[in-house]
């Protein structure tokens, strides 16, 4: 079976209408889809739906207590946006470590989230930021939307809770009042164009010498990017002493569920989790 229809609609309504027909492949920047198609890992559906002209899916804005990021926002756009730096610095840091300029110019955040790679670089900061995904569909003529936490959206490697007739419309990051610290760390063999061996996202608010509202997430160490609630609990409300840092790093090492693959062994990943968590927290303690 080959592609029988190609659509490049301008409105969300039209896009959702095409999607309702079933067996449709969604195209955004194409940076995952093209190589996956070429390698035979993805079969294109009966319809190919190019989202790139749907203006309603663009843009980054602060509204109703959250930072709303349109699904088509590119990594380059996120890097350039002052509101992303201000409200989601950990995401901006991850965007700076993403692939290369040419890739950042094409790759969209919606594509990164829907591709749901365990190593997807925006997923770790988005988990740290308690992001929610906004999905839309047009089941019987009128547009229906639903929102769910990113953690519930990611169900396995390459798998999400998105129904075939749903489109990811936007990501929402709740704004926080307290001044925050954020760190993103990506371990690879070279600085550019590398898939994360592991990645770590950290955010918290500072209350004098102690941390509150601590969030720590890890990529490429489990079937889906994950939070380490045990490590968070070890840090929450505690002063950042050497002992606390060591306890949190050890808790994270216990929590992760890595596998052996071409990039690293499971053992090595655990050691990275321990050592790099410690390094990040040391850095925060001395900042």
């Amino acid at each position: 079976m080959s592609v029988e229809h190609y659509w490049a609609p301008r409105t969300l309504d039209e896009a959702l209408g095409h999607l309702a027909g079933g067996d449709v492949t969604i195209l955004a920047g194409g940076t995952d889809l093209m190589p996956q198609k070429n390698a035979g890992r993805v079969r294109l559906g009966r319809g190919l739906l190019n989202l790139s002209r749907v203006d309603a899916l663009r843009g980054v804005a602060v509204e109703k207590g959250c930072l709303r990021i349109g699904a088509l926002a590119t990594i380059t756009e996120l890097l350039a946006h002052a509101a992303v730096r201000e409200h989601a610095d950990v995401l901006a840091q991850a965007c700076d470590r993403f692939a290369s300029d040419q890739l950042r110019n094409a790759a969209t955040i919606g594509g990164n989230v829907c591709n749901a790679s365990p190593a997807g670089d925006t997923l770790v900061p988005l988990l740290v930021l308690d992001a929610e995904v906004e999905l839309a569909s047009r089941p019987n003529g009128s547009v229906a939307t639903r929102t769910l936490p990113l953690a519930a959206f990611l169900t396995g490697p390459g798998r999400t809770a998105r129904a075939p007739h749903e489109l990811l419309v936007a990501l929402r990051v709740p704004l926080r009042r307290a001044p925050a610290v954020g760190r993103f760390f990506k371990f690879g063999t070279r600085p550019a164009l590398d898939i994360s061996t592991i990645s770590i996202g950290f955010a918290a608010s500072r209350d004098g010498g102690t941390l509150r509202d601590v969030r720590l997430a890890y990529g490429a160490v489990a079937p889906v990017p994950m939070r380490s609630h045990a490590a968070e609990a070890a840090l929450d409300g505690a002063a950042l002493t050497d002992a606390t840092i060591a306890r949190a790093a050890a808790a994270a090492r216990e929590d992760v569920r890595p596998i052996d693959d071409v990039r690293a062994s499971a053992w090595y990943r655990r050691e990275l989790v321990f050592n790099m968590t410690r390094r990040i927290l040391d850095d925060v303690a001395h900042a």
């Binding site: 592609v3 190609y6 194409g30 093209m34 190019n50 290369s100 890739l103 110019n105 164009l193």
Partner: protein, 157 residues
Amino acid sequence: MSLTREIGFVLNGVRTRATVPVAMSALDMLREVVGLTGTKYACGEGECGACTIVVDGRSLCSCLLFAVDCDGRELTTIEGAERDPLGARLEQAFVDCGAVQCGFCTPGMVMQAQHWLQAHPGASRDAILRAIEGNLCRCTGYVKIVDAIERVAREAP
């Protein structure tokens, strides 16, 4: 038979129409349908930058871009680089600095450097290194390429 689409775009300043299979890459369209072979095919998967072109002001790997998505857009390839004074100066600087050996990476390097310097005039050497981190060169060791781009960044336009 795979589905085809007729699309229209502006290529190096010239209105162009092409009929392309919907799953074809923009790189294959340029080389095989339009017949402009300056844009190179090397890795075919976004890793090397040899296929870099500029689309609506953004540099992209044309091997990852669906050709049908070019509909209504403005494309610049290495064949059109010299239409812009910056592109012409970059090409001359690559020659003057000896930044070309086999030349396979050169079209992508020039297009990426042009895109970057357009947005970041006067970019520092460090910024130039970051700008071309998606472009691989197997011959030169990069120093002369960075020299060439830096020379253009330093010159008054």
